[in-house]
Every structure is written in C-alpha cells, then in structure tokens.
Assembly symmetry: C2
Amino acid sequence: MKKFMNDPRNVLAESLRGFAAVHSDLVVVDFEKRFVRRKSLKQGKVALVSGGGAGHEPLHLGFVGEGMLDAACIGQIFTSPTPDQIVAAARAVDTGSGIVFIIKNYEGDRMNFQLARDMCGLDIHTVVVADDVATANSAMGIGGRGVAGTVVMHKILGAAAEEGLGVQELQALAQRLCSSMRSMGAALASGTVPEVGRPTFVLPENEIELGVGLHGEAGRQRVQWLGAAELAGKMVETIGADLPRRGDALVLVNGFGSTPLIELYLMYDAFAAELLRLGIRPVRRLVGSFATSLDMAGCSLTVALLEDDLFRLWDSPAHTATMRW
Amino acid sequence: MKKFMNDPRNVLAESLRGFAAVHSDLVVVDFEKRFVRRKSLKQGKVALVSGGGAGHEPLHLGFVGEGMLDAACIGQIFTSPTPDQIVAAARAVDTGSGIVFIIKNYEGDRMNFQLARDMCGLDIHTVVVADDVATANSAMGIGGRGVAGTVVMHKILGAAAEEGLGVQELQALAQRLCSSMRSMGAALASGTVPEVGRPTFVLPENEIELGVGLHGEAGRQRVQWLGAAELAGKMVETIGADLPRRGDALVLVNGFGSTPLIELYLMYDAFAAELLRLGIRPVRRLVGSFATSLDMAGCSLTVALLEDDLFRLWDSPAHTATMRW
C-alpha cells in the first residue's frame, strides 16, 4: 500500500485539517467532535444534518453550505459517526425550526442517528436514503444501501430547506425522491483502508464486481470483464426493472475514487444510450467522483425520475466546497 | 489492464461524446476536428485557444466557457493536437479581436501550435506555460514542462480576456504569471494508456517518482516512500528555491487521476505547513484533480505568487464544465 499520508492512524485528522483550511470561507470544523458545519447559519430554516464514515469524500463534508447541508458528521473510515458527534452537530446548527437527519441505510448509521435523536431533546425528524438496487430485494433483508443517491438527496432537500419548507414537507419530498431514485455500482479494483494496509477485496484481473457497495461490500455477482456498452446495459436493466416508471431523469455517473474523468464521461455515453432505449431521458446530468470508496476503481449510476418541482430544486443555487451553481 | 471502455481505440471519441452531452449547455464539440468551443462567443473579446493530448482531463476541455477558454483542441492520448485541428478551432472562435494560443511547453505542442498559427492567416499570439521545476534547470535543456499551472493560466488569462484586455496586455499578464508560478509532481503509481495496455512505468511498491511529468515521464529522482510531511518538505523546498520571492500565494494541489480527495486534502495540510515555514502564505487554495495523467496515482503542488490584480482575476466569475464561481 502506498498512500499520501504520515501515520495511517492520522489520515482523517490531517485531511480534515486540510479541508478546513481550504474551505474556511464556507465552513467551520469542530475537530474534537469531528463535524463540519455551515459558517453562516440561516435563522428560521430547518437544519439538515447528515454524515457517515470517512473515506467517501467529498460525501458528506463537501456538501455542507448554502443550499445543501447545515452539518456533516464524520466517523472513522468506513465507520458510523458516534451519537455524541451527531448530538454536537445538531445542537451547533439548530435554530429552533426543526432538524432533519439524512441517514444512509446502514445498520450502524441508523442506530447512531436514532440514538442521537433520542439523546438530543430537539425536534428531530429522519430521512433514510436506500437507493442501491443491488441489495434492495436481496435475501439479506436490509433493503437498499444508501449510496450516491445521497448526493441528490442533499441537493434537493437542501434547496427545499433553504426556501423555507417545514419538516413535514421536507419528509414528503424525500419520500417522493426515494421512491423514484435507484443506483448501482461496479468495481474494477478494491480500495485500501490506510490502517488495514491491504485491499478490502481481491478481484482477479479479468473480473468486475457488479453491485458493489460504497465500502467495497460484495455486490450481486462477479462477472468477466465487460465492455462499457454491455456493462451499462446490465446496470441500466437492473435499475430500470426497479424503477416505478419511465420519463425525464436526473442521471449521476459517480466515480469511486480512482477512476479518471475520461472513463466516467465514456460511461455516461454508454449509460445514456441504454437509458434512452428504455424510455428514460437524461435531462439533468452530473459526472464526477462524489461518493467514493477511498481509492476503489469503479463507478456507479444513479437515476432519479423527477417531476418539475424537484428538477427546479436540483437547479436552485448551491454553494459548498464541492457543488456550486 | 481493466478500464471502463469498449474498443481501446475509441476511448477518446466515446468519452468526448459523453462530455458533449453532459455539458451541452456550455459547449459545442466538433467531433471531426476534435475541439471543444464555448457555446456563445463574446464579440470583441480576444479568443483564447489551448489544448493538448487527451488523458489529462479535465484539462483542457473542462475549462472552456465563460471567463476561461474559448476553445480547446484535443489530440490523441498524450499526443499533441494536429495543426489542422488547431486552425479549425481558432477559426471557429475568432471574432476579429485577436487570438492567443496558450501552449504547454512540449516540443510537439509548440511545433503544432506554431504551424497552425502560420497556416491560419489570423492575428495570433502565443503564451507558453512552463511551470514544472523538475525539468526547469535540467541538462535536457527543454525548460520546464507545462503542467498544472496551465489551469491557473487559463483562469487568470480567461478572466482578463473576458474583461476586454487586448493581446499585448494578455501577453504581459501571462509573463508576470509565468515568472512567479512553479509546480512539481510526485507519483505513487503509473497510469495506463488504453491502447498500450500496460503501465507507462513501473515503480516498486516502496518508491515514489519525484518530479514526475504529466505523461508519467521520469522526474528528478526516485526516492524511498516518504511520509506526507517529509515529501511536502522536499517538494516545497525545490519549488521555493526556484521562486523569485516570498509572499501571498495561490496554492493548487492537483491529483493525477487516481488519488482520492482524502489524500489530496491531507497533502494540502502538509504543503501549507511547509510553505508557511518558507514565508509563503496560501491565501487562495484549490484542491482536486484538474490536470491528470489518466489513472496515475500522484499529486502535484503549484504555487503562484500573485499581486492583487492577479488575485482579483482569479476570483472573477467563471462558468465552465469544471470551474464555476
């Protein structure tokens, strides 16, 4: 394992220090409780708090700011933040208008955010993102994992909160988004957790892990290497089978950390062709590495079938470390 | 080699098709002559044309748009665009107010852009970016290669052109920027050219290529793996020795394609500490993968000591596929 680091145990702390310095115009970092909060809070607005294990950067800290999250809690690498971190973040951004926790669907995250809610004594509601079709209907019974669709949730709910919507309305919006958003990933090679020092999984040179999770969890199946068109066909077919309808879509092609942009744009081209064949029209597009798995090589496709009001929220201004428009 | 692609020979064409679809609001792509141009040209403005081999995405095509480039020509992977491509791009964006070619300092690029200028019959001036200290004073006699500082040049010259500066003033600005901007890279692992199918170079598990170029060219020396702080110390020392002064700086930490953001922010933290020790204060910061080398693992540091007018140009609005503020 070769990485840019000093002591492997300090990767997160030192990276966070860099992040705080680079984006000091937008955010404030609490290094003790490890959360990032929006620098200027907006009074009277529902506060959105999310978070999860580190190693998925820019998720979640890159999405803290105007029009998106009010705070993001950062756990150890691939480990849920603890309830006391979440409580501290919630208190730091509460303006008395209610709080919504945006939680990725993992057992640890759900438990810790729920515990934090109970401990907090504030008016807190929750939204769970579970967009991964690879596990959605599996025998494991956990439902879909929360993957790159979380970025879409941050953006759309963030815009709605910025406009002054209340907690009930935000929850209803989130439900609508969840019902029409699906993701699926494929890995070419594992990432490596610094403190572990060896790849999370080993994939033979000629195989692809189809349906891989954001922590390198095994997916649906290992397949022989496929050309981009054929791979896109399989992924779009799986996503399409789980979507409730066809129509205009927001399409996110997300890199897992070590896949270069030239390949991500190529995959967009392949996905778009397959989506059109299925009657799904990409009318909003985002390509880049937004929800990563350290240095895993791979990408995911997220398709969200939106109605006009949700497209409008997607298009609304945002100003965070990673997203600005 | 495992990549997201179909036929290796079509990687560039298919990726470019994806790029064109994703950013159709900002740019128009000429697929035959392989250049990307700004969708709405601004009359009376000096046109900025750059380009180079593919494989460095988002350089250059991601920087075409308002406040940056008018056109970017895209050669085959790691190969200069041909003069006829450059001529076509220049003609497509000429509004009669002069053209500036921004050229990275490589023999092939210099030759082809010069040939294009001679063939074009338009009022064309050139700016050469040669920010790489690794080769700046080497016996090879080529001067510094053009590396990630090219992004800074695109931004600052782009803002100045947008404000209506003429070709002479733009050239003078470029000269000022070149005189106070230096870069240096370090690789942990080689990238792989799709049509070649094997890594460009082989680096033992415990070594770093110090001073590596954007195509994986050998740098100054191979060293045993170093911790981030020590590596940053070496790189900052080399850059600092070649800079004409100390003071307020724009600092760009650039990933080479397969280095995740968590490591880049960690390196920012390490670089900033070393820069401060030298009397160089980072007052503008940019961290991400902007000038890449396919899937090379590594990063570079660019330091530009700017005066107030150049900081102001850096801060001016831009709206391209990759940069927006």
